[in-house]
Symmetry: C2
Subunit: 232 residues, 2 copies
Amino acid sequence: MTTTSNSKPRLYSFWRSSAAFRVRIALNLKGIPCDITPVHITKSGGAQFDLDYSEKNPTHLVPLFEDGKVSIHQSLAIIEYLEETHPNPRLLPTSPEDRAWVRSLAMDIACDIHPINNLRVLRYLVKNVGSTNETKDTWYQHWIKLGLNSLEKQLSTDSRVRRFAYGDQPGLVEACLVPQLFNALSSGMDLTPYPSLVKILHECLKLPAFMDASWEKQIDAEGLNPSIPPQK
Amino acid sequence: MTTTSNSKPRLYSFWRSSAAFRVRIALNLKGIPCDITPVHITKSGGAQFDLDYSEKNPTHLVPLFEDGKVSIHQSLAIIEYLEETHPNPRLLPTSPEDRAWVRSLAMDIACDIHPINNLRVLRYLVKNVGSTNETKDTWYQHWIKLGLNSLEKQLSTDSRVRRFAYGDQPGLVEACLVPQLFNALSSGMDLTPYPSLVKILHECLKLPAFMDASWEKQIDAEGLNPSIPPQK
């Protein structure tokens, strides 16, 4: 790491934040020791709006990663930074076309599923649009289903998929996929239509890098991981 | 370019799609000739759902970029691919920390503003949530304002900002920022609270790479660019 001091990097995290979960997985896969500071984004008022945190991260979102004087607040930008400063093990392939494929899959989740279902969006939907809780829950699953349909199609047909999305080592895709599937399961979604994704989920959860990053293992955890459906 | 044939790459684009606009800017900045195939995403039924296009791009979104056998459907993944295969001029800095900063700013737009305001989300809001058009318009501007507030804060205080977000050459940030500001202006938003962003917008629009990628210059254009407010 290009730390400007000998101190460990620090991740501002929330146990159930899927963007923070992505970074925790990446840190674990690379074996980078990191201090965690919880940011309680669901408490009344939201710790992400506290003055200290707002000064560090004007987006008022988690995660935030600090490495010496370097401060990065977008999960995929953090993971790309970890990849560049700590290249082994690699979380992205080496060829531009395969890197593009992996990044596209990751962004299908990080751009086109998760942001539409973020806490602030769900809250706005109820408070400002007047959505019922039922309509909000339907909204939540609608965007996940659309995204998972496309991911299943891509991951069930591409020859690069083996044990994981790209070959036999987990990387950027899995760091995004596992948190997204946790969210889906927690909302009660049936993952039967997504056997390729469930297969990868099972492979990931065999690894301490994923389990140690999971909800129930966090110092600020207030609940357990969702039940994982058996592989068919 | 690592094309597998001598043919030019092809971009599936829509004149008003801000994700396609980003890629058009990047191609122009790098001087990469590219064929454009319009995908009329706002027509009845939506050309993004046509069988041919769905086979190529199961996300049913634009853009899609084809370079020989390589096919990429996320705008930022396409731009990273262009950066890796055609490195000059650079659209990202060289140091990991500066690359992370640039990527974070780009993702503030590409993950946390635009997807929440995408055509499909706005349609779902009206059709499935029962939102009025007025509530939908308020929604649209709400997420843009939140995002631009944070971008203005970052770009008004960081010493890396000069003529552009990172130094004196435009890059990934501008490729995302200009399309987002076009959307904001088109919705009638007042950009007075964002002088740093408007300054960069003016610098960009002096350049043919940006103007040639803009709405009214596209072969499928059905309207003009928004009026650009004077710089104060």
